[in-house]
Symmetry: C2
Subunit: 188 residues, 2 copies
């Protein structure tokens, strides 16, 4: 049975296929509930739910933005909840969450979770980029993409939102996670 | 079949019994996963899961702290996630989330959810107190209780953490929700 990448996002699918280069992987959109908890708990639970729904091997993906000043180990904040804060505050409002904190460092985290089928253990593949949250969003183009305009990875003077896509896609947290997924699929 | 109040917290159970005055209600501790979403979605889902687990009528409870500057309708923040932020930042750190915002207003929200049994609709009973988040925690006694030291309800000069328990328990968001629950149980 082929592996199903469970996603409703065609851009993610295309990026996945371009990097992983495994044409046997199919995709499907399933609405999966997300629980509260650590990144690892949420991804594990989501992969298990997807494996149950599909009845076979699945990959699921999660992307988070962790503000280090707000977080502690296994309790990443806003972390998995970044999408809700982005939705409510907009990308201009997000940096204000850190106004009261000196530490502006952050981690962009992409987690792929693989589960072979119902009842099977879940394997996690994580790509992490360390960086900082900039006070004022900076991006190219007409409209910002997610929280890209406020995350500046260490070693670069541009935010994700300012980078050429071709650069971002070879240094990003997502890219790093996909390299691990590719290696795993190749070795198995 | 009696109604089961699903909680592992004996203090909540005692307060429930004292206010609702219905000795037929039993209680049980069940570990219920909490999903991400609005207060209403989380409470509804939790009540349904509890009704499935018990196989009969249940009540579940959720308490949230909503910072109005971070929220929009049906997207209460930190809201249901306040427990994680409290855990990571401590009660001294929580007000710093609002440093960058002028609006320090907040809502303490207690939601009881009733579900008669598997597959049944869920009824919500909500008690809300408007107030403000104070910069520096204030409380009586040796150790702070939850986020009580930073929430000052409108019309009072004391935070929940400074109030006599006897006062707090007759004005609180929890009390207001329980009054609605009591009325519902009485009428049905």
């Amino acid at each position: 049975m082929p592996i199903t990448f469970v996603t409703g996002n065609l851009n993610k699918l295309r990026e996945f296929q371009a990097i992983v280069e495994d044409s046997s992987i199919v995709h499907q959109k399933i609405d999966l509930e997300e629980i509260q908890g650590s990144i690892a708990e949420i991804s594990t639970k989501k992969a298990k739910a997807a494996a149950n729904a599909i009845g076979g091997p699945v990959l699921v993906e999660d992307t988070c933005l962790v503000f280090n000043a707000l977080s502690k180990p296994n309790l990443e904040l806003p972390g998995p909840y970044i999408k809700w804060f982005l939705d409510s505050l907009g990308v201009e409002g997000l940096p204000k969450l850190l106004s009261g904190f000196e530490d502006k460092s952050a981690q962009a985290v992409c987690t792929f979770a693989y589960c072979e089928g119902p009842g099977c253990e879940v394997k996690l593949f994580q790509g992490v980029n360390d960086g900082i949250i900039v006070d004022v969003p900076r991006y190219n183009g007409d409209s910002p993409f997610g929280w890209d305009p406020i995350f500046q990875p260490n070693g670069y003077k541009q935010t994700y939102g300012e980078m050429d896509k071709s650069l971002k896609n070879t240094i990003s947290h997502r890219y790093k996670a996909l390299v691990l997924v590719k290696k795993f699929l190749h070795d198995n």
